[in-house]
């Protein structure tokens, strides 16, 4: 029964909550193809008007960063405080800046 090749592939589901917002990851579904994945995503994740648009994509297609590399990837931004406006001292009386 559990021949893994017979399981429908996994799809990640993204929902746009309303116009003006970007699609956001909400979970996943199993489906034989993209059309069925959309139908399953609709039934599983939007039973209460949670969205106006759906994306599905095969989970196997996602390339993710390794959490073990998080320090190397993201920490260098920490010592670049000059990227933030609060780094700069502007005298009192100067406005609109």
């Amino acid at each position: 029964m559990s021949d893994p090749s017979k399981e429908w592939p996994l799809w990640e589901v993204f929902v746009r909550g309303k116009g003006g917002l970007s699609h956001r990851h909400v979970g996943s579904v199993h489906a034989a193809d993209g059309k069925m994945a959309l139908e399953h995503a609709r039934d599983t994740y939007t039973r209460r008007m949670e969205g106006v648009s759906l994306w599905v994509l095969p989970s196997a297609q996602i390339v993710a960063s390794d959490p073990g590399d998080a320090a190397a990837l993201f920490a260098p931004a920490e010592d670049k405080v000059y990227r933030h406006p609060t780094f700069y001292k502007i005298p009192d009386g100067i406005t609109h800046i």
């Binding site: 559990s2 399981e7 199993h30 069925m36 039973r47 959490p67």
Partner: protein, 331 residues
């Protein structure tokens, strides 16, 4: 609800002993600081195994939980009730699916979990092995069973494993409609003819104690509670949640003129809580062992659904493959 550890055995500590102590310490510190653990983060094997067991057991409970209520869809007393019950049962399927997909992020496949359920290896909540004899049972399930579920699930929105916590947030949002529709059914029956009121009282009599059992064995018989609380997989003990449930539910019963079937139930001013009678734990363990009134029927229904659907799963898979191959050939 369905998050009670039904294994009844203390999990083996040997796994912790073989983990890298530095990684383990860093992990414990993150969890203690209420950080979330995400799928690709390092985690101890025992944490992974406990979560797989707990989340899949919870998912199975949602799926099997559709059966007692599905039993009444065709016999709902009117169209309004029927539409509500259909929506509720569909929600339960949705809850099962959110949870299966959360468990899959831990490296277990959907088919493995299905097989564990159908072969009887995996447990699900004992509550679903009781039969739904009358329409009032649908009211009692929504009110008491879903009420107990909410009590158990609300704290799990802050559980340490990110995908599980996010699934619980969605589930809790949907669950309160379930409880209110159940209470409404009971309210109407209790205010109806003497016969209807008797039916409501009879349902409360049969579902009260099994609902209290849903919180799991008493704390001193729940060997894995301490570790699960440290890992933020569990956030309150079984007895704490059971007490909380009794305290909020008794006034709800009184408000609609129903009597909680416990002669020892008494408000304790000093504790600011209800004292209540002892749960029949022999019955609980018997149901966990699979001796519930309709345990066999439940599994037969799941096995039949799985086997009857095999040709559909197969046909859809082959059709998708054929179309994908045709696309490749055309390019």
């Amino acid at each position: 609800m369905y998050t009670t550890d039904l294994s009844g055995k203390k999990s083996k500590p040997e796994a912790a002993a073989t983990e890298d102590p530095a990684k383990l310490a860093a992990f414990e510190a993150r969890v203690a600081a209420d950080e979330f653990i995400e799928p690709k983060d390092w985690m101890p094997e025992a944490y992974r195994r406990t979560l797989i067991r707990q989340i899949s057991q919870h998912a199975h409970s949602e799926i099997v939980g559709m059966l007692p209520e599905g039993n009444w869809i065709t016999r709902a007393p009117n169209l309004r009730r029927k539409a509500i019950l259909l929506a509720k049962v569909q929600d339960e399927a949705g809850h099962g699916l959110y949870l299966y997909c959360a468990a899959e992020t831990l490296g277990v496949s959907r088919d493995e979990m299905t097989e564990a359920l159908l072969s009887g290896k995996a447990k699900y909540s004992t509550i679903f092995n009781y039969p739904t004899l009358t329409w009032a049972d649908i009211g009692a399930i929504g009110w008491l069973v879903d009420g107990a579920a909410i009590m158990n699930q609300v704290p799990l929105q802050r559980t340490s494993y990110g995908p599980y916590a996010r699934a619980m947030v969605r589930i809790c949002k949907e669950e309160s409609f379930h409880q209110r529709q159940g209470y409404e059914i009971m309210m109407h029956l209790a205010a109806g003819t003497p016969e209807q009121k008797r039916m409501a009282q009879d349902a409360l009599n049969r579902w009260w104690w099994p609902s209290l059992m849903m919180f799991g064995p008493p704390d001193d018989k729940s060997p894995n509670t301490e570790q699960s609380m440290r890992w933020r997989i569990k956030r309150d003990t079984n007895d704490e949640l059971r007490q909380k449930f009794v305290d909020i539910t008794v006034p709800q019963a009184e408000a609609i003129g129903l009597t909680v079937p416990d002669p020892d139930l008494k408000w304790n001013d000093a504790r600011g809580a209800y004292d209540f009678g002892e749960v029949d734990w022999e019955e609980f363990y018997a149901v966990v062992r699979g001796e519930g009134a309709v345990a066999k029927e439940r599994m037969q229904a799941r096995v039949k659904a799985w086997e009857d659907g095999a040709w559909v799963r197969e046909a859809a898979r082959v059709h998708a493959e054929k179309r994908a191959n045709a696309r490749v050939a055309a390019e």
